[in-house]
């Protein structure tokens, strides 16, 4: 293997990993507050991609407006999801919440089949992302370079909200103690809704970039990236935002490198992620940056 190819794979790995990381943030934020693996989270990628397609196709909006708008709409969809599938179960056993999440995921996928149909749609990738540039002798599509940059910018914005604003403080409080949070006069349901909005907004960014990378949008397109992102969140330490992004980068790099170094096992690329999941759960369930999670009352 030459240095050039290694460099090429490194860039690909970082790019893929940043997508996992972006989606993993949503898993980790919702888990941090509700102790819930929001299995419908991956389907928001699909929701965002279709929303962007229709905003461009039917409303003929330029992508500069369609993409951010699709992200906002997906964020609102996250709030709807919480309102319909999770909020009624706030005091129910956690297993009910998990079942509701799986149900919500199936519902979204099958609704998409009914309404849109199962035939994959092409994604209108804006030409500016098609450019190919050459760095150190490696030809790279600019989308591959934009992806990690956008991820880092969104991550910094999110960290600012969580650690520097009032509502972020309330989110961190709620992640430890619901009752005490309410006793501060804080509207807990609103804090949870904002959490869902932020997580879904970022998932939408991931979904749109995913659709640009693999421009075949179908109702199940969110399933695998969703699972991978979930694994990234566990790997990074579920509940920890920075951990989720680091987990995403590691998983993306790992997947790409496995294929690059051992092309004979490339068919098992997806299995790699699940092996990582099993190993983490066996040997370090708190992940890279996670702290032991105590069950909340």
């Amino acid at each position: 293997m030459t240095g050039t190819i290694l460099f090429q794979q490194l860039i690909n790995g970082i790019s893929l990993g940043s997508l996992y990381g972006l989606v993993a943030i949503g898993y980790t934020m919702v888990y941090g507050i509700l102790r819930l693996i929001n299995f419908a989270h991956g389907d928001l990628l699909m929701f965002a991609a279709y929303t962007a397609i229709y905003l461009i196709g039917i409303f003929t909006l330029p992508w500069q407006i369609s993409f951010p708008l699709a992200m906002v709409i997906t964020g609102l969809m996250g709030i709807v999801l919480d309102r319909c599938a999770y909020r009624p179960l706030r005091d129910a056993p956690r297993i009910s919440l998990l079942i509701s999440a799986i149900g919500a995921s199936f519902l979204l996928e099958n609704l998409a089949i009914v309404i849109i149909g199962g035939i994959p749609k092409g994604f209108p990738r804006p030409p500016m992302f098609d450019h190919v540039i050459t760095i150190l002798g490696v030809r790279v599509q600019v989308l591959t370079l934009y992806t990690p940059v956008i991820t880092i910018v969104l991550l910094l914005g999110l960290l600012y909200i969580v650690y520097r604003t009032k509502v972020g403080k309330a989110m961190r409080a709620a992640s430890k103690d619901f009752e005490a949070t309410r006793l501060m006069g804080i509207n807990l349901d609103r804090v949870i809704a904002i959490t869902f909005f932020l997580g879904s907004f970022l998932a939408a960014a991931g979904g749109i970039m995913w659709a640009m990378k693999y421009p075949q949008v179908n109702p199940f397109m969110g399933v695998f990236p969703g699972l991978k992102a979930f694994i990234a969140a566990v790997l990074g330490g579920i509940g920890n935002i920075v951990g989720a992004v680091i987990g995403g980068f590691l998983l993306g790099l790992g997947e790409i490198m496995i294929v690059a170094f051992f092309p004979e096992v490339s068919q098992y690329k997806d299995a790699f992620a699940f092996v990582i999941l099993i190993l983490v759960l066996l040997f370090r369930p708190t992940g890279i940056m996670g702290e032991p999670m105590i069950d909340k009352t």
Binding site: A170, D177, T181
Partner: protein, 234 residues
């Protein structure tokens, strides 16, 4: 200021509060004493809407609050230091205090912060420290300070002396009297009947979900039954 009438609370099949009447007047320290499980904490939880009473009413400043949600009740002007302190361990002392003033903004926040730091200089020294790293006594001070940050008309204190060394307990009760002199009305739930009765203007004794005795604090201190049951005298 606070009027609780005929409050009935059930936990599943258990009749936890059997028609409680309590009244707190402005400027007073009122205490609820009684053994473990008598319903003291349940009464507080019902007042702030964490448990839903089956019947009865809670009025705060003349407004019915019985059916409001917790954050709405708190916003009317109540500050609470819950049982077990419940400080946010992953937040700094300062952040904990700021959350206590979640619904008050800007300039008022600085004023409240100054006030709380004057009452508890220790909190000022440790304002950057994570609350989870404080000692038990310091956490109790933080819980008290946090309850005061919104400058509430009524302060609810649930077992503030629980698990603290005698010296710290004394300090806590001194502070309760200080903030009362500065204008806060206080409803104090305590197992430490002796200390509570000493500072209270008025007291209620709870037994298995009912008020069995009430009267001015000093008077209950002299009461034969109270002395026997709660002050450990024969």
């Amino acid at each position: 200021m606070l009027k609780v009438e005929n409050l009935q609370v059930y936990y599943g099949g258990i009749h936890a509060l059997k028609g409680i009447h309590i009244s707190v007047e402005k400027g007073q320290i009122v205490t609820l004493i009684g053994a473990n499980g008598a319903g003291k904490s349940t009464t507080l939880r019902a007042i702030v809407g964490l448990v839903r009473p089956r019947s009865g009413s809670v009025k705060f400043l003349g407004n019915e609050t019985t059916r409001l949600s917790t954050h709405q009740i708190i916003k009317q002007g109540i500050g609470i230091a819950p049982e077990g302190r419940r400080v946010f361990p992953n937040l700094t002392v300062l952040e904990n205090l700021e959350l206590g003033a979640y619904n008050t903004g800007g300039k008022d926040l600085e004023v409240s912060l100054d006030w709380v730091y004057t009452l508890f200089p220790r909190l000022k020294e440790r304002h950057k420290q994570l609350a989870g790293t404080l000692s038990g006594g310091e956490q109790q001070m933080l819980a008290l300070g946090r309850a005061l940050m919104s400058r509430p008309d009524l302060v609810l204190l649930d077992e503030p002396s629980l698990g603290l060394a005698p010296l710290i307990v004394e300090e806590v009760f001194n502070t309760i009297q200080t903030i009362n002199r500065q204008g806060a009305t206080i409803l104090l739930v305590e197992q430490n009947a002796m200390a509570a009765l000493h500072v209270a203007n008025y007291a209620y004794v709870l037994e298995t979900g009912s008020v069995t005795l009430e009267g001015p604090g000093q008077q209950l201190l002299q009461d034969e039954r109270v002395r026997k049951a709660y002050l450990g005298e024969d």
